[in-house]
């Protein structure tokens, strides 16, 4: 059953392209980071303790009756562990060179009690390519745990998260990354800005969303990541935050991200994002910009569902056309996972939704850079799955 046959949005999903990017020696050694006085670390640690523990204690004491998921029902609706995720098979022709990319990203969610949630996501993917002297496609399976975190819902406004967390810089990494969500199959060029080569942090975070005024909601995330050189939980040392203002009536969200690197060049990173879905049109606009000493750039991605066309209605409402314009300009410092030269890229494609979670996708892109221009074609199928763990999954 489709709930939004005339939905203005689309489901798409793409490959985690930055999985498995190599660490630089700078990251591994954490130059300077290990030798600086621990004032920043102490401040941050004390800050998190200061905020999270009293909040948790206050919240626990403020609600002597444990909240239930169905407060008015004699039997509360208890969440159960589930396995969800996405799978896809993508064929890419990058400058004429064919690549095959199977990918599976399972997400395990284990709710505990009324306030806790353990969540983790892994990625299994391969980049199969033709190799000289060999027939067929060859490649290695890459396995990676993208994140593994423990969430504590302290109160309606604050959730405390610890562990290996997706870095909340911009919107793409946290919200649009899964292959069944994204509209175009390629990663934005500026994606590594703010999230680094591993797209995750090792540390803690406070986050939440609340109605700040009748007209708009505010969502926020404040985080600290510790230096870790232990693969695969490598991370840099930084602190930052993201704030978004969402106006439900206009279906508009604007927000900004900030991050301060606490190692290496100790620079600041800034980002800005926008999501807009006008009520009157099946139209979806997403855009992001990011700036750091390793580079700066933007991407803007309009998508339009053809449900308003007066012919082939059943097919048209399942069809979405999408485009993305993006540009990256190199900075004075080399960037991990970022292009080495100034790059501009335009992509246009189409998604067809067979059913909930199952989508065929195809797009064409043209990349212009100092290294030479090239065409990139991508075709594929993506699927989203949800499986309850245990027999109680089908219980009401």
């Amino acid at each position: 059953m489709y709930l939004d046959k005339n939905s203005t949005t689309g489901v798409a999903d793409l490959r985690p392209g930055h999985a498995g990017n190599p660490l630089t020696a700078r990251h591994l050694l954490g130059q300077g980071a290990c030798h600086r006085p621990g004032i920043a670390r102490l401040l941050l640690g004390a800050g998190f303790l200061w905020f999270s523990l009293p909040l948790a204690a206050r919240c626990q004491s403020a609600s002597p009756q444990p909240p239930s998921t169905q407060l008015d029902d004699p039997q509360p609706l208890k969440p159960i562990p589930i396995l969800q995720g996405s799978a896809g098979f993508l064929a890419t022709f990058d400058g004429g060179e064919p690549h095959l990319g199977p990918i599976v990203t399972p997400v395990v969610l284990v709710p505990i009690g009324e306030r806790w949630l353990v969540e983790t996501r892994a990625t299994f993917e391969s980049d199969l390519a033709q190799q000289p002297g060999l027939e067929g496609f060859h490649g290695q399976l890459k396995k990676e745990v993208d994140y593994a975190q423990l969430d504590f819902i302290a109160n309606p406004y604050v959730t405390v998260t610890v562990g290996r967390i997706l870095t909340p810089f911009g919107i793409f990494n946290e919200r649009l990354y899964p292959v069944w969500i994204r509209n175009l199959q390629s990663d934005p060029l500026i994606l590594p800005i703010g999230i680094g080569p591993s797209n995750a942090s090792t540390g803690a975070m406070l986050r939440g969303g609340f109605k700040a005024a009748p007209q708009f909601n505010v969502n926020y995330a404040v985080y600290y990541s510790a230096l870790s050189t232990a693969s695969p939980v490598d991370s840099s040392r930084f602190a930052g935050g993201r704030v978004g203002i969402f106006v439900p009536k206009a279906r508009l969200e604007v927000g900004g991200s900030f991050q301060h690197l606490l190692q290496d060049e100790r620079s600041n990173l800034f980002g800005f994002h926008l999501i807009w879905q006008p009520q009157a049109l099946p139209f979806d606009l997403r855009a992001e910009t990011a700036r750091s000493r390793r580079g700066r750039g933007y991407w803007i991605e309009p998508a339009y569902r053809l449900s308003q066309l007066p012919f082939w209605r059943n097919q048209m409402r399942r069809t979405q056309v999408v485009a993305r314009m993006q540009e990256f300009l190199v900075g004075p410092l080399p960037g991990d996972g970022l292009p080495d030269v100034n790059t501009r890229q335009f992509e246009a494609g189409m998604n067809y939704y067979f059913m909930d979670g199952l989508k065929a996708t195809g797009n064409y892109g043209r990349q212009f850079s100092m290294d030479g221009n090239k065409n990139v074609w991508t075709f594929g199928v993506t699927y989203r799955f949800v499986v309850p763990l245990g027999r109680e999954g089908n219980e009401l």
Binding site: L3, L44, D72, L109, R115, P156, L206, G241, I275, G357
Partner: protein, 127 residues
């Protein structure tokens, strides 16, 4: 020094949000607004039934009024569902209620939807 200042700014933001959140929570405990706003937001996954827990009036409400409230809640839930969830992805199937409760809790954390939106969405998705 500059770095310490930046850190203090970041934590100032955190302190501001937490203070604001606590103030909102205190204010909401005395809120007497209509049904979907009346109950202080729950820290848990959310309620599939949103009316106030201790509402005697709701318990003695005539059936047509209750049905009207339920329909209004459903409409509001669908609206919140499209507005919030549609920001990132197409609407999914309805899953079994307990599965849906887990997904909504996950989305509460991941997408940072508000407590009220979460309860209404869960209510709508489990009907």
């Amino acid at each position: 020094m500059k770095e310490t200042l930046l850190l203090l700014v970041v934590f100032g933001m955190a302190m501001g949000f937490c203070g604001y959140a606590l103030a909102q929570e205190q204010a909401s405990s005395t809120d007497t607004a209509p049904a979907i706003h009346a109950r202080p937001p729950s820290p848990g996954v959310g309620s599939a039934n949103v009316p106030p827990k201790n509402s005697d009036a709701a318990a003695t409400k005539p059936a047509p009024v209750a049905r009207r409230d339920s329909a209004a809640m459903r409409l509001e839930g669908e609206k919140r569902f499209r507005t919030n969830c549609g920001r990132c992805h197409m609407a999914p199937h309805k899953f079994p209620p307990r599965t849906m409760a887990t997904i909504v809790r996950h989305m509460r954390v991941r997408a940072m939807i508000t407590d009220e939106d979460m309860r209404l969405i869960l209510s709508y998705m489990t009907q």
